[in-house]
Symmetry: C2
Subunit: 660 residues, 2 copies
């Protein structure tokens, strides 16, 4: 089958594109001495974290690979390795490029104005987007190219998603703890105790804070989306394999390949329009790419003899659903609810908390109903295979979605660099407006990521039950089976436990950071006066150590729980656990992400001069909300997506070993 | 069957006991002029609220009764009416007695010392406990006595639980909104703005605050436990009926009857020991009553020919599980976690929020694992009937559990009355120590209520699927059925939605209360100086109106969602919805109740002089936690219990009308 070569070949083309974009970024100057130095510090700090993280990670992965080799043979082990490598490489390149683009964005804002700054920062994000999409196609498409003609059991492919999701979990949790401990630590001591502005170069924690944006919001987010992207394809392949349909097996890769093309076109559209109107440029990219993809999907599905046109509607359900969930997220983190939270700040921080939690809880409802709608439609059209394809449809244009998402932290970083190097008010205004735009698109991206992860997880769970069901015809996941219920109860606990652990981790890590920053302000003479330099590296080191130490427990829980429940209580209990875990993860993810986003923007709303503006009591109350929202939206919330996917994919991989 | 008369007869005996205890309470003097007046104001306010509430409620119930009569015939309608009346009467008498006991507790503390004060307050709570247990037996046992020999379909009994649970929902939600809006309003204006102490008689909101303790924590809690108690019995009866086993049908009532006897013995034990050591007296009552009950259960089960001794172990699993969940709750709301939250107050209110939410999330895990354990054990022993019996086993000693639970607000009220009437430091010390003791026992009671409600709901859901399954052998609640998944997704949203609504309701109602209290301080000349009286009635009226207005929407959602999903998407979707709703309700209930309890006690820990004590920054931060915790633990959290039970029982009642 010559067609099999197309997805990895397109993936290589995507990587070439990413390299070209990287060259475009590098053509912009990285600025004067001081700017360059700050940029280098951030770049070096981010790389140092990634290297240490990957060292720990490789030990963890090695253990998993050995276990998998022993229990499931060499091909699963190879798939895990390839998945882990692809995810790591995507994260690494994306972050490498982002930390080159941030300083160039700041310099472009200073020298060439807003349009150039938008170009550089969007290019910076696009590299991440292209890498995620391309490496998914190269890795998974490549394995498919070798395994399928050689008649290797397609189930062996599932290791790819497992490797990717384990990397994602560590990146997300580790990156999330890093970024928030640095952020909270730098803010509390710098802004409140020392009374210096945000991103002031005298603050020893600001470099760590800016490093955190890259390791958390760029690398972490990238690996998160990467694993949902690959997970949805693998789930669809696994389901198609249980149906014995070769065309249906190949379709997910073909759709993803066309999604990459649509994304590249989308990136061009944004670039062409960006000079005129940045906001509408990003928006048209977000909306046009899926439209182009859906049109291409029609012809692709039509060309597969073994696939009915019903499946095309599943693609549409997924693509439209993803956009809708994004828009709902935008409303809750940017519309009326934000104003209401800000206003509740007039009666103090307690009412800010109550209204924010209330908004977060309410925001769970519609996205979940949309997910239910997608499930209903896609299963009516094409049974559980439809759910997998809907997930693929939602995620196929990941190239552009991820590009727009990663653009935000690049712009944010550029603002930090502008502030630290004293580039002046006008430059800061440009970067602020880019950042604000990034916040809105990032909100859409976050909602999209949760929806996509939920659908991908559901597809994997469906694949799990199909795989177990093929081997054991009497297998049942009926809610009337007590053991299924027991599994569901266990499953719903896990997201609460992991959220609790990660929130505590941020608090503990921030505490260490606070002590270090306080120490430096006390012991380094001349620091406050600007005559001595802070020891920024020490802060990066503390955040790195704390993140790596604290990410182990959630990682171990996520990977081991399916094995413990599966081997201890059987496949039925495990199926129940996944269902309970899915419900818990999705609802908590939405609640925490949206409450956090809404608090963040409520604070920004006040800072714009509303309700008394900066320095008012209302502002102080809003800052409390934002501080609570930080671990919500950037640590605990996003780890929920991956948690359920890790648990689901581990279950799918070990499915052949389980008794019911 | 002459035995059928025993449960209602014992129920009548229990009511006689309650009357005797009431007479004992009334033998204590209600105090001097000022004390008496305050007591009368609270009593009158509570009665006024209950009367208005029941007026609204009766219209709502009437609609439901008419619909049920039309769709399911007269016997279901009669059952609903009887259930609603029994629940209302239990709540009314219990609260009537509690508002007589509070003022007498304060006076006894002043005149006769701590032992007498404990006696009166515990008697006051016992009346509620006895009423709940007795009216359950009279109502349900009475219907059973008439229906079964007359060969009326036993499913018609289910209306009883439906009537009870609808009343419970309104009492809990309405009472919860009342109590917290009054509490938050009185505190914010009184303590913070006017700078007068808590429970100061000049504050127009304090009477409403004290009324709230009664309508929320006494009447609301009573109706909550009442509906779980009856729900567990009815679920067991329904499951037994699908098995066609008369003995198994009768067993739940027999167990509950023996539980009432054990509770009465427990109340005696507490009374006998209370003079020596109050804390250990309450504790021995809590632990001995279940032991006595379990011993009695052995002989009862042995005497039923159609029931195996396996069932006895289900009773033990439930009774032991209930105590264990209570102890876990006590740990999270009183042990190390509370100290940790208080300490996090040293870095401000944001860290108090983060650590409290983290504790709340963590506290979900072990109770849910215990529930899973109970399910596993009881179903192994006696299939789903075992779950029902485990729930009955947990709830049979409701007489003593509820007595100890309701004692807390009586003691709390007594403290308020002592403060308002200026009884002096010593009296306040006695009532404070009683109150503190009450907080610990109330924490145990709350955990127990959640566990019991979850088990009762699960039993009702099992009965629902058994009933639908008997009529439609092909009925399946398999997670692999897309429509079941869709139902589960819808189900998990509902608790988030209702929590969001009730939290917002408290905020809105508190806002009105704040404006009224501010108005009175401004417009009534001489109020601050103590020469003029506040218009307390107006505040009671505002809280009443707000509570009644805001309780409608959650009530309508709870009652209508099963009908909408059941008739719209079918019985499979409804089964899924109940499962998703159960997971969401239990986990949110635990999280909110425990986070709220922990915040409350962290504040009290600081107020005792730790970490800087009252007036310190740490205290201010802890107060924020407590204020957020108020709607968590007393409004939104407790409404979760009933929400899932209402949805489950409505589903069970409409089950015969559904197609799959």
């Amino acid at each position: 089958m010559d067609n099999l070569i197309i997805p990895p070949a397109l993936g290589i083309l995507g990587m070439v594109m990413a390299f070209i974009v990287y060259k475009l970024v590098m053509r912009y100057p990285d600025g004067e001495d001081k700017v360059k130095k700050i940029g280098d510090q951030i770049h070096a700090g981010a790389l140092a974290f990634m290297k240490t993280e990957y060292k720990y990670l490789s030990i963890f992965i090695l253990v998993i690979v050995l276990l998998a080799w022993y229990a499931l043979g060499p091909y699963t082990a190879i798939s895990i390795i390839v998945g882990a490598i692809c995810s790591s490489v995507a994260g690494f390149i994306g972050m490498y490029a982002a930390t080159k683009a941030n300083v160039r964005t700041a310099t472009a804002a200073q020298k060439d104005g807003p349009a150039a700054a938008l170009s550089v920062s969007f290019y910076g994000g696009s590299i991440m987007g292209l890498c995620v999409a391309s490496l998914g196609l190269i890795g998974l498409g490549g394995l498919y190219y070798f395994y399928i003609p050689a008649e290797i059991d397609p189930h062996k492919l599932e290791g790819f998603a497992m490797g990717a999701s384990v990397v994602a979990l560590f990146s997300r949790v580790g990156g999330g703890i890093f970024t928030k401990s640095a952020d909270v630590g730098a803010d509390l001591v710098g802004k409140i105790e020392a009374g210096i502005p945000e991103d002031d170069p005298r603050n020893p924690g600001v470099i760590a804070d800016n490093v955190g944006d890259n390791v958390g919001d760029v690398a972490g987010m990238g690996s998160d989306i990467f694993e949902s992207y690959c997970g949805s394809m693998i789930a669809s392949i696994a389901i198609a394999y249980t149906l014995g349909n070769q065309d249906m097996m190949m379709l997910p890769l073909a759709l993803a390949a066309s999604g990459l093309i649509a994304s590249i076109i989308g990136i061009f559209i944004v670039k062409l329009q960006s000079a005129k109107a940045p906001a509408s440029a990003l928006r048209s990219g977000t909306f046009l790419a899926p439209v182009i993809f859906v049109a291409m999907a029609y012809f692709i599905i039509d060309s597969f003899d073994g696939v009915g046109m019903n499946v095309w509607w599943c693609v549409i359900a997924g693509a439209v659903g993803g956009v809708l969930i994004g828009l709902i997220t935008e409303y809750y983190t940017g519309g009326g609810p934000v104003k209401k939270i800000a206003e509740s700040g007039e009666t103090g921080s307690a009412t800010v908390m109550i209204s924010g939690l209330s908004v977060g809880m309410q925001s769970v409802v519609i996205p979940i109903i949309i997910l239910a709608g997608i499930i209903l439609i896609s299963t009516q059209l094409s049974d559980i295979y439809g759910v997998g394809i809907a997930a693929v449809g939602m995620l196929a244009t990941v190239g552009i979605t991820m590009a727009i998402d990663a653009y935000g932290p690049v712009a944010d970083n550029a603002g930090g660099i502008a502030e630290m190097s004293g580039m002046g008010e006008e430059v800061r205004e440009i970067t602020d407006s880019l950042d604000e735009l990034g916040n809105t698109t990032a909100a859409i991206g976050k909602g999209f990521a949760i929806g996509a992860a939920a659908l991908a997880a559901l597809a994997i769970i469906s694949a799990f039950s199909a795989v177990v069901g093929v081997a054991n015809p009497e297998f049942s996941l009926a809610l009337t089976e007590p053991i299924v219920l027991v599994g569901m109860f266990i499953g719903v606990c896990i997201p609460f436990l992991v959220s609790s652990i990660t929130m505590t981790a941020v608090g503990d890590a921030a505490f260490e950071m606070i002590n270090e920053i306080r120490r430096q302000f006390k012991e380094i003479t001349g620091l406050m006066e600007g005559t001595a330099e802070p020891d920024s590296e020490k802060c990066v080191e503390i955040a790195t150590k704390a993140a790596l130490k604290k990410m182990m427990l959630p990682g171990v829980i996520a990977v081991s729980m399916p094995a413990i429940v599966g081997f201890g209580l059987g496949a039925q209990a495990l199926g129940g656990m996944l269902a309970g875990g899915l419900l818990g993860c999705v609802s908590l993810a939405l609640m925490m992400a949206n409450a956090g986003g809404a608090w963040d923007n409520a604070k920004k709303y006040v800072e714009k001069g509303n309700l008394g503006g900066k320095g008012s009591d209302t502002h102080a109350a809003a800052v409390v909300g934002d501080t609570v929202g930080d671990p919500f939206k950037d640590t605990s919330g996003p780890s929920m997506n991956i948690l359920i996917n890790v648990m689901a994919i581990v279950s799918l991989v070990i499915a052949p070993l389980l008794s019911i």
